[in-house]
């Protein structure tokens, strides 16, 4: 990247995201490299997310976005670098310990269990934080999940499954959500609803790390954006810069 961009990155980040500065960081990833066997898929990645902040990872397919999320969750283990949450180093912890420490997993396939009912899908994970949503609140916010609570989880539509996946980690009380392409394959009206949910979550001080191909959608919900290419963070932009350069970025990303 050119020097000009680097300048944009610095000023952009500083101007847009005072919350991300100093000690208020929730998730902090430093010097993260990841491999699949001999193939290096992430190189020296540093990102952070503050409480109540929505941060996206944008990049082409194969840029390493999902590997980054999986490494933060502890599902991809062939890594170097450190991953910490609220100042606690989680790098050596198992995925289930990280989930109990407050990381909420919403995978790109929604991850709904066919062999569990909608209610069981919600009740499966342990409650890990005092701010966890009680079941009544989940049902109030997502009435469709209440209506379908005794259905097998996978009998829901794609959009309902996405809501269930998000509701599940809110019921758990996760402090940082890892959302992998929540808008993928959904009708515009549902995508809009997902956006509302993300803003609601944000309002409660929960952090969100969002992988998103849909640049327009990303710009309506996010505070900051990291651009990934070939396993490296190539740009770090505040949302205003991101919007201003949207068409350029779309071309750059080949979308």
């Amino acid at each position: 990247m050119s020097d000009e961009t680097t300048t944009t990155e610095r000023t952009g980040a500083a101007a847009e995201t005072p919350a991300a500065q100093g000690s208020s960081r929730m998730l902090e990833v430093t010097g993260l490299s990841a491999w699949y066997g001999e193939a290096r898929v992430l190189t020296d990645v540093a990102i952070d997310v503050a409480p109540g902040e929505v941060v996206t990872l944008v990049g082409r397919n194969g840029a390493g976005k999902t590997t980054l999320l999986r490494s933060v969750m502890g599902l991809h283990r062939q890594i170097e670098g450190t991953i910490s949450l609220d100042g606690t180093d989680l790098t050596r912890r198992s995925a289930d310990a990280r989930a109990r420490a407050g990381i909420g997993w919403v995978p790109d396939d929604r991850g709904i269990y066919a062999s569990l009912t909608v209610a069981e899908n919600l009740l499966l994970p342990p409650v890990v934080h005092a701010d966890a949503w009680p079941l009544e609140r989940v049902y109030e916010f997502f009435p469709v999940l209440h209506e379908r609570r005794d259905f097998p989880g996978t009998k829901l539509s794609g959009g309902e499954q996405q809501m269930l996946a998000m509701a599940r980690v809110l019921r758990m009380g996760s402090r940082l959500l890892l959302l992998d392409e929540p808008s993928e394959g959904l009708a515009p009206v549902i995508v809009q609803r997902i956006g509302e949910i993300i803003r609601e979550i944000k309002g409660q001080g929960v952090g969100v790390l969002l992988v998103e191909q849909n640049v327009k959608f990303a710009s309506t919900v996010a505070d900051r954006h990291y651009l990934l290419a070939q396993g490296k963070v190539v740009e770090h932009l505040g949302n205003d810069d991101f919007r201003a350069r949207e068409s350029e970025l779309l071309t750059y990303l080949g979308m």
Binding site: S94, D96, W105, A114, L123, L124, P126, M172
Partner: protein, 289 residues
């Protein structure tokens, strides 16, 4: 008609042994991803231990029905802790080979100690003889074995569908990685689930003891049929294992009665037909690419 009902009952009783064992095989495969080849040997051990308890300690059938599954649970826990656990990170083939080797050891050990001729075991008091319903004579023990298997299968079904432990087992069976990412220490459930699966095979062995020749080799054919049961029911499906267990028991009994030459083949023809029509088995979920 009378003969047909007798065959049906024999089939359902044998099916009960298959259903219980296949249920154990299915939960182990579900949670650990291990195909336990030694399941037939564990069934054999259940029967052999029952016979030894009776002959050497005068411990009868009813006590064996409780004690043997507990012993087999312990055996399963040891097996998982000492052996299976260390290979879980590798290709599942390694544990298949491990349990295959273990089968050979168990079978030879029993042969060395108790010989190749069958150990005696009589039908427990109160369950002997026949009961007449109209003009049909049915074996009391077969009725008992069949009902007992159904009750245990239903109880395990309730455990899996109505309890939190069951919910975790179902979730881990369906998607172990995702279940860990949702904060559940799947590893903690691995040992008890393995022990439980082995205990079910042992229980089937105790139930079979009064009606089968108790030999070191009795599990060898059993495990092959058990694999057919699991394929027919759908690998990883709990309900499939139970339904296919009883189905295979029936098909085998009718085969023995009406086409003795082809009795063994019939089961595998059924398996081939099921796989042709539904590659993932009767109750298996279609693989999502």
């Amino acid at each position: 008609m009378s003969a047909f009902l007798q065959y049906t009952l024999q089939g359902l009783a044998a099916g009960g042994f298959y259903a219980l064992s296949a249920l154990g095989l299915a939960v182990i495969f579900g949670v650990l991803g291990v195909v336990n080849f030694s399941h037939g040997a564990c069934y054999m051990l259940g029967a052999v231990i029952s016979a030894v308890l009776l002959a050497e300690l005068h411990v009868g059938f009813w006590v064996a029905l409780v004690v043997v599954p507990i012993l087999m649970f312990g055996f399963g826990v040891l097996m998982e802790r000492l052996l299976v656990r260390w290979l879980l990170a590798l290709d599942p083939l390694y544990n298949f080979l491990l349990t295959f080797g273990l089968t050979l050891i168990l079978v030879e050990a029993v042969k060395q100690k108790y010989g190749v001729s069958g150990l005696p075991y009589e039908v427990p008091a109160g369950l002997g003889g026949q009961v007449s319903i109209g003009s049909v004579n049915l074996s009391v023990y077969a009725i008992f074995a069949c009902l007992f298997s159904v009750v245990v299968c239903v109880a395990v079904g309730l455990l899996l569908t109505k309890t939190r432990i069951g919910m975790i087992v179902r979730a881990s069976t369906e998607a172990p990685e995702r279940t860990r990412a949702l904060g559940i220490n799947v590893g903690r459930w691995v040992t008890p689930v393995f022990g439980f699966g082995i205990a079910l095979a042992g229980l089937a062995g105790v139930l079979a003891a009064p009606t089968r020749a108790i030999t070191a080799e009795m599990g060898s054919n059993f495990i092959i049929i058990l694999f057919a049961v699991v394929v027919i029911g759908g690998l990883g499906s709990i309900l499939g294992a139970v339904v296919a267990g009883f189905l295979v028991g029936l098909v085998e009994a009718y085969g023995i009665a009406y086409a003795p030459t082809y009795a063994q083949i019939v089961i595998f023809v059924l398996m081939a037909l099921v796989v042709l029509v539904r590659p993932s088995g009767l109750f298996g979920r279609e693989e999502v690419a």
